[in-house]
Amino acid sequence: MPAFELFQPASVADTLGVLNRHGADAWVLAGGNDTFDWLKDRIKKPKVVVDLSNVNELRGIKDAGGGLEIGSTTTLTTIAHDPMVKERFPLLADAALLVASPQIRNVSTLGGNVSQDARCWYYRAGWPCYRAGGNICYADTPTSINREHAIFNADRCVAVNPSDTAPALMALDAQFVIKNGDKERVVSAEEFFIGPGVNITRLNMLQPGDLLTAIRIPNTWAGKGHYCEKVRDRQVWDFALVNIAASMNVSGTTINDARMVVNGVAATPYRLNAVEAFLKGKPRDKATADAAAEMAVEGAVTLRHNGYKVPLMKALVKRAIRGDAEWTS
């Protein structure tokens, strides 16, 4: 790995001090699963690495007035097995269990999982693409291998967000707590993730000096119905081709309200706003699911090799609406 100066602060205040002192030269290290790929491939060469593993304040899950607050370096294994999470937000517990392998989940953190960088191999190979500050997307050419890439909201870059927990957090209306110096801001999941049109070199709004300290999940969707499914090439240790997370408030056979988010299809988790509006007050049946599935893929623009994502996404939307229930019609 390239040489860097390592800081291992023991408090959030010290961490913020280091991050502010070094600005864009600093790289935040949480679980390291994304970081070490970049460093060992010598693609990213930060001057300073700030290791969060000694900052106990950033770990843990607590009941915080009307919801749960999860520290950003809480591991995915902890989240997946935490009784409070499993009871109130099984969607997040299920999503965390879908990440990679048990060993990886033991070190992966929630903050790292939502903040991880794109997995487009042209970008990860260090080529000077848009996302790397260049002026081309190698994945969107007539000869590209782009089976995993975006079908929505591509703006020059066609990389997708690879996170499994991000769509679940968005479906649960989670809030992200970001600190920078002595300032704190709380943003919604939809604000946290940003597309290439807004900033083509980042998948989220974190800027130099920013530290994601916690993620808050309100009780709005606690105990409500949920659905989570990840489709991948192999059943362990793989990123999603497409995944879906849905929260649903259902009375009998009527859908009162729903939040539905798909990932692996755009540079941000893709919330199905039109589908959510359509589902309100509709019966939970096959006709509703079929119509919602068609609605979900409106506007999709496929590349040479990722056309399969359209029927795959439609199938996932139908399955999310059906859930574990049998069709009533």
Binding site: P128, G133, G134, N135, T141, A154, D155, N199
Partner: protein
């Protein structure tokens, strides 16, 4: 500090990527410094045009001149303001993200670019077939006028020195700079549309080789930041008190008889009724 950014392509070539955005700040600060320097100079200089006596004599000689003389027809003014709107839209969409105002700028940028391109194509046609095509150009024949203008700016009387035709020398030099920069940004911008999804051209990043793409981005960037300084200068001169008569003409279309005779050579820009009469 590298003024141009390079990268290694997948084929191992070192290619240009784009300009350094520090050049944007250089152009912005340069434009503002010019504004301050020129404004300061004009406060203390004695800029001379025609004396009022000379203008009085000319008014008597050209008694047939109307009180208001058309300088820009409606079509020319409409072109100017459409171009100005598209240029400001291009500059804001290009550079606001650089200074930290983040938004999805690309589609607004290329749409403003299409508007600029269409307006410039129209302008070329209109200037060639309707307007006096050569009245805006500069050449060696303008050296005496340039010298006289410099002398006047330095506070000297220059009796009998040439006055401009329809467009003052500053206008013509500015038009030349804008034309060169404009044609480069339009040409490079059209090529760059092959790299984004516009629905107008089929996206194909391999329509040129990487080195050619690099030069295209560099040219677009250099002329783009150049426009920052050019537009600052243009707005500054348009708002200067002694130039307001030109700015008003771009809004209302006409200038007064006295401005016409003060600032222009009626023999080089012949307005209706500008021929000398025998009144002495």
């Amino acid at each position: 500090m590298d003024l141009l950014t390079t990268a290694r392509s997948p084929w191992g070539e070192s290619v240009f990527i784009h300009i350094s955005w520090s050049l944007f700040w250089a152009s912005l600060v340069g434009g503002l410094l010019f504004l301050l320097a020129h404004g300061g100079y004009m406060l203390f200089s004695q800029h001379h045009k025609q004396t009022s006596g000379e203008v009085d004599r000319m008014e008597r000689e050209r008694a047939g001149l109307p009180a208001h003389i058309t300088r820009h027809g409606f079509v020319a003014r409409a072109f100017h303001w459409v171009m100005a709107f598209s240029m400001l839209a291009l500059l804001f969409t290009a550079f606001l993200p650089i200074i930290g105002v983040r938004f999805a700028w690309v589609q607004w940028h290329w749409m403003a670019g299409v508007l600029l391109t269409a307006s410039v194509l129209f302008h070329i046609f209109h200037a060639t077939f309707v307007l006096d095509f050569w009245s805006i150009w500069v050449g060696p024949k303008d050296i005496p006028e340039f010298k006289a203008e410099m002398m006047r700016d330095l506070g000297q009387e220059v009796p009998g020195a040439p006055l401009p035709g329809k467009y003052p020398l500053g206008n013509r030099l500015y038009h030349l700079a804008v034309m060169v920069a404009g044609l480069v940004v339009i040409g490079s911008g059209i090529m760059m549309m092959y790299r984004v999804r516009t629905g107008l051209v089929e996206r194909n990043p391999y329509v040129m080789a990487d080195p050619a793409w690099g030069l295209t981005y560099v040219a677009h960037g250099l002329m783009g930041v150049g426009f920052v300084g050019l537009v600052i200068a243009h707005i500054y001169f348009a708002l200067r008190p002694e130039k307001l008569w030109i700015t008003k003409a771009m809004i209302f279309g006409t200038i007064s008889r006295r401005d016409y005779l003060t600032h222009h050579d009626p023999n080089r820009w012949s307005a209706q009724g500008s021929r000398k009469s025998n009144v002495a």
